[in-house]
């Protein structure tokens, strides 16, 4: 079975094309997120933002990329050289791998061949995402340790303990969602939402918890303690330059994009087009698939804009406040949310037990 797949060139080619497309979309969106962030910051602070390179400053991300790319690559003499290179590589690799299980759309037909717009529909989709997101912690930790810099090390340890703390609440907030969907496959979750309505209607508290945890996992303001400039100079990537620094910054924007996609997929119907019955429509499946992709991207962009709005509105937490919020508030809230959801679903299904 597996051997025959290796020789199925059409299958391999299809998947390879899809992988390249998905990764490129992630990179392009991340690139333009940097532009959008500066534009949003400009709008909120009543100034124009980047407007020199190209029309509306649209070429700014390319200029930044070329600059980062051609800078001198410095590896400090006191650092651990192999780990120093491995750190940003791992951070970027983890960011790139998340997109593999996201259903980007239903399917399109090219030359009579049905192509599902998902790299792989794993049964364990949600767990896979958690596994890969957890790998991102290694990038931060290894990079900060290898730098042999006091600020980097402190920032890395802070970042690692922040990420793992919020991973707990994130995992718990999703369990209530799984009670409703009954499947870990992201595609299954989207199909379920097309039939029963979006999960945000049933899980408002769960979504709120997931949103807060997503902010913390992405190290975004108000949780950007690993990069608190006034306390730690520049954070865990202080010793980095050139594309290695670029990878750290880029991985952060890709993570923001991926968590936006994930929130849209888990709670806002994914590629489901609102007020439109996909199953009963007579549209060409290719057009329908592309429309679904458009719907997902629209929701995602709205979430990314929300991330940016929050960044320029809320000041940073103190570290003890951050830990209090994660452990003492989000964790019990997620557990209570889980129990309430379970009771409601069971009452609807079986009635009261007494």
């Amino acid at each position: 079975m597996l051997l025959s797949l290796f020789t199925d060139w059409a299958f391999l080619l299809e998947k390879l094309t899809l992988v390249v497309a998905v990764v490129s979309i992630g990179l392009v969106v991340a690139m333009y997120s940097t532009w959008a962030e500066r534009k949003v910051a400009g709008a909120l602070q009543d100034r124009p933002g980047p407007n020199r390179a190209g029309w509306f400053g649209l070429l700014q991300p390319f200029a930044d990329a070329i600059k980062l790319f051609s800078k001198e690559d410095i590896i400090p003499s006191k650092s651990n050289k192999i780990l120093f290179v491995l750190g940003p590589g791992l951070a970027m690799l983890a960011a790139v791998m998340t997109s593999a299980v996201i259903p980007w759309g239903d399917k399109i037909v090219i030359a009579g061949r049905e192509i599902t717009l998902q790299v792989s529909d794993l049964d364990l989709g949600v767990l896979y995402v958690f596994a890969v997101v957890a790998m991102g912690v290694y990038g931060v930790m290894i990079g900060g340790w290898a730098s042999n810099n006091k600020f980097s090390l402190l920032a890395a340890i802070r970042g690692a303990s922040q990420n793992i703390s919020y991973e707990l609440a994130m995992g718990l907030s999703l369990i209530a969602l799984l009670f409703l969907t009954g499947t870990l496959s992201l595609k299954g979750i989207v199909v379920g939402q097309q039939e029963n309505g979006w999960n945000i209607l049933y899980q408002p508290l769960g979504f709120l918890l997931f949103l807060v945890c997503a902010f913390a996992e992405c190290n975004r303001t108000p949780f950007d303690l690993p990069e608190a400039e006034n306390e730690l100079n520049f954070g865990y990537h202080q010793e980095y330059s050139s594309m290695k620094l670029g990878f750290y910054l880029f991985a952060e924007y890709i993570n923001m994009f991926m968590s936006s996609v994930l929130m849209a997929t888990l709670y806002f119907g994914g590629y489901d087009i609102p007020f439109f019955n996909e199953a009963a429509s007579t549209l060409n499946p290719t057009i329908l698939g592309l429309l679904g992709f458009g719907a997902l991207m629209t929701k995602t962009v709205l979430f990314i804009l929300f991330f940016m709005w929050v960044r320029w509105t809320i000041p940073r937490f103190r570290y003890d406040q951050l830990m209090d919020l994660g452990w003492k508030k989000l964790l019990p809230l997620a557990l209570i949310n889980m129990l309430i959801t379970a009771v409601v679903v069971l009452v609807k299904e079986y009635g009261w037990p007494w």
Binding site: V19, D73, I74, K78, K150, L178, L184, M323
Partner: protein, 127 residues
């Protein structure tokens, strides 16, 4: 309702392996290219560790506050407990009230452990 019609097979992981290979090539390629592209004018001062303008004092890898270590240990404990909920969540409807009673017991243990570390001050960050 979407059914798990396809059982988990190694074939499902083949596209992920493709993506992994692509990711590794991309990351390694970019780091290698940018390494050879940029200028190389190394001086011993430039390669020194940055410490706000003064010379580095001692090694950076000194013992850190035990709090961080404690958080990591607690994470391992609690994350394992969270993972136990996942198989239950998938079979939740078929297990019914009986399964729920069992999980309530588990949640009580979870809360007991949580209450214990809370009272012990493991989550206390402000001095």
């Amino acid at each position: 309702m979407y059914l798990l019609d396809a059982l988990s097979t190694p074939a499902q992981y083949l596209p992920i392996a493709i993506q992994f290979a692509f990711g590794v090539l991309f990351v390694a390629g970019m780091i290698a290219i940018s390494h050879f592209l940029g200028p190389k004018r190394n001086t011993s001062d430039k390669l020194d560790t940055f410490e706000s303008g003064i010379e580095q004092i001692g090694n950076a890898r000194q013992p850190m506050a035990i709090k961080y270590f404690l958080v990591a240990i607690l994470f391992v404990l609690f994350d394992v407990e969270v993972i136990f909920f996942y198989p239950y969540a998938l079979n939740f409807k078929s297990l019914g009230w009986e399964g729920f009673a069992a999980v309530c017991m588990f949640v009580t243990f979870f809360f007991a452990g949580f209450f214990y570390i809370y009272k012990k001050g493991a989550l206390k960050w402000e001095d």
